[in-house]
Subunit: 406 residues, 2 copies
């Protein structure tokens, strides 16, 4: 008889989480890491650095699950009380090991390769309780190190798991995308949709569609995703992009490499964000030459061939200047493709026909320059993020369209 699917709960410890000064990214990371290993998370608790609160949460979390992961409060400072609190809550005594680390009775230590506080694993009745450090990279390192083997035992060889397939889109708002997709679902694709759930995950960069199949021991998961997505594809294709880690910059780098071209950028209002996106992954060095951040007008003039006349006649935020930034990027830095971005990211600087959020984007491919004027809503950070995404999407579509034309 195959055992029931392994289920888990997470407890995050830390006053700073409840004061709202820190966002709990560990909890999301843990949930994803557990799901990837066939373990589903039923609930999460967040509590203060208070002994009785930690003990109550661990006890409530443990109800009916195989695994409880507690993160935070393992460090060396006096406000770190998680290990001692959990041990006392379970009635276990504490001893100090040779390094002075407090270890509960019967517990196993999990090596921390990137920090000082090791993880702790305690078997308590039917439940495995694991304590991990709260610093994200330490938590991840302990998880992917010593904890990995223990989890494999727990999930068992027959563990069902949640399978996901994500389709990335950019440039279309969630309601419009959902309308187009739902219409196709009702018009025939629904015969392929049985047992597959669909979630729309919007962000500043676009909307991801996440298709999920739960506990598909019957196999053929990938074929089932393929069939459904093929049916929906006509609604997705104008907006869709392919990138292993979901980053459009990755997709652009791949498309550039396939086309045998390199890229240079000149940014004004986005101030380096486009170049940063292109260099976030190591892979872009084959296609990304570099860039200029032409923040002050004098840099636009000295570095990329914008003239004082252009600036006087059209202003820094104009089609003429954007096109010259794209052309100058390619020419001065020696690349086949240039992108130019100039706009008003706010909060100040907006005026009459150029309100905050106005951004000109120009893309030069082999000397042929195309430009778009966009208007983005939101604060400075959102405008910058959206402008960079739109610039990447412009180039991506130009390269992909060219490829299908060939």
């Amino acid at each position: 008889v195959p055992r029931a699917r392994c289920q888990a709960a997470i407890v995050s410890v830390g006053n700073e989480l409840l004061f709202g000064q820190t966002v709990d990214t560990n909890a999301a990371w843990l949930s994803r890491a557990l799901a990837d290993r066939g373990i589903s998370v039923l609930r999460r608790f967040t509590v203060r650095d208070v002994e009785v609160d930690i003990q109550e949460a661990v006890s409530a979390a443990a109800r009916g699950v195989d695994l409880v992961i507690v993160s935070g409060g393992l460090g060396p400072t006096p406000d770190d009380i998680t290990t001692a609190s959990v041990a006392r809550g379970l009635g276990l005594s504490l001893t100090a090991d040779r390094q002075g680390v407090e270890v509960p009775q019967y517990a196993q230590l999990l090596t921390n390769p990137v920090g000082t506080a090791p993880g702790v694993l305690i078997e308590s009745g039917q439940t495995t309780i694991v304590l991990l450090p709260g610093v994200p990279r330490e938590l991840e390192a302990v998880f992917e190190g010593d904890l990995e083997a223990a989890l494999a035992d727990l999930a068992g060889p027959d563990a069902g798991s949640v399978h996901h397939r994500v389709v990335h889109t950019t440039g279309i708002a969630e309601p419009m995308l959902a309308d187009a997709v739902q219409e196709r679902l009702y018009r025939g694709a629904n015969e392929y949709a049985a047992g597959i759930t669909l979630a729309y995950l919007p962000s500043l960069r676009g909307v991801d569609l996440r298709f999920s199949i739960t506990d598909a021991r019957g196999g053929k998961v990938e074929e089932r995703f393929d069939r459904l997505i093929e049916e929906l594809n006509p609604a997705l294709v104008p907006w869709r992009f392919e990138a292993e880690h979901g980053d459009l910059a990755e997709a652009v780098a791949t498309a550039l490499e396939r086309s045998g071209r390199t890229l240079a950028v000149v940014e004004s209002c986005t101030g380096g964000l486009l170049a940063k996106r292109m260099t976030d992954g190591a892979g872009a060095s084959k296609v990304f030459v570099g860039g200029v951040i032409a923040y002050a007008n004098k840099v636009k003039v000295a570095q990329v061939g914008v003239t004082d006349e252009m600036l006087e006649q059209h202003g820094g935020v104009s089609e003429v200047v954007a096109k010259q930034l794209a052309r100058g990027a390619a020419k001065r830095l020696g690349a086949e493709v240039g992108i130019g971005i100039t706009g008003v990211a706010g909060p100040g600087g907006g005026a009459g026909d150029k309100p905050v959020g106005t951004v000109w984007i120009a893309v030069s491919v082999d000397g042929v320059v195309e430009s778009i004027r966009t208007h983005f809503k939101g604060d400075r950070g959102s405008v910058r993020e959206r402008a960079v995404q739109a610039a990447l999407a412009s180039l991506y579509r130009r390269l992909m369209f060219e490829r299908t034309e060939d």
Copy 2:
């Protein structure tokens, strides 16, 4: 008799939170917003879109608190079951209003000015239960609109609140900083520390010290913080920086402005991240001229005066090249201060005496160039983040040291 301080709990509803594909930023926002209004959050729960799970969490959350805020699952799609689940859990019947919105018996609707799903407020015994939409800007709009007045009643005119003071540090690891601070706490500063709690909040950028006073109706909160921090200051001053939003780039911009200088940067391995950091806030435009991302060696040669000889003799990651990047930044872009960064961010590219994580940072102030060689641990993203922070810290300390010398 003044009533006890108002306490709250938060319940976040949504499968996507437990799959880990969405980070729960609402919970942090709500915690902060409640603290600002004198309401402290004791615990948080995260549960699936499952009726019994929602009901159990709301019931557990309500124990001993005045307010429970439930977010998520109020939308129009079939997986939105929060309102009905909570109503049935409390034994309240449901009716549909004129717009077709489900309203629990005795509940008050809270207008949603930016979306379709209104909030819901239910008085249940001693506890107020509030349901808010899960889309962040809708949640925030309902909170800051109709909910605001209700919360003021709840917290009462005499509500104490949690007061914080944060001291930012960078360039020192948490255990070392904690040792230095605790030593001073034991050596006399402790007479000022009564009633003040201290938390260490480490990140890639540094360690924040957060001092907190709870329920200080006696007043003099700021003076109490001042006195304690003054006593601790000798341990903090080499690492401390001042910035309203906690960003070292802000502190650098302020120090530059005070000194009447402007800044230009040339980045290789950090690929635009330094320029992005300097332009994240709108304020930097007075002091930040621009930069060059010299990712390919040919850009280092053409744009900032690195010679082929330098590259051949010393390599792209070298003191000589870093210094030329800093000098070239200032000279070519027309600024008094230049920063140059070159290094191996990884994961590939490391070799013998220049392993992954090796970064040269040079800072030129009025033509005088100083450089440091650093070695950062961690993945590509961490190395880049730490390198930028170290470069900003170098410049900040040079400007501050010069100021105290005057």
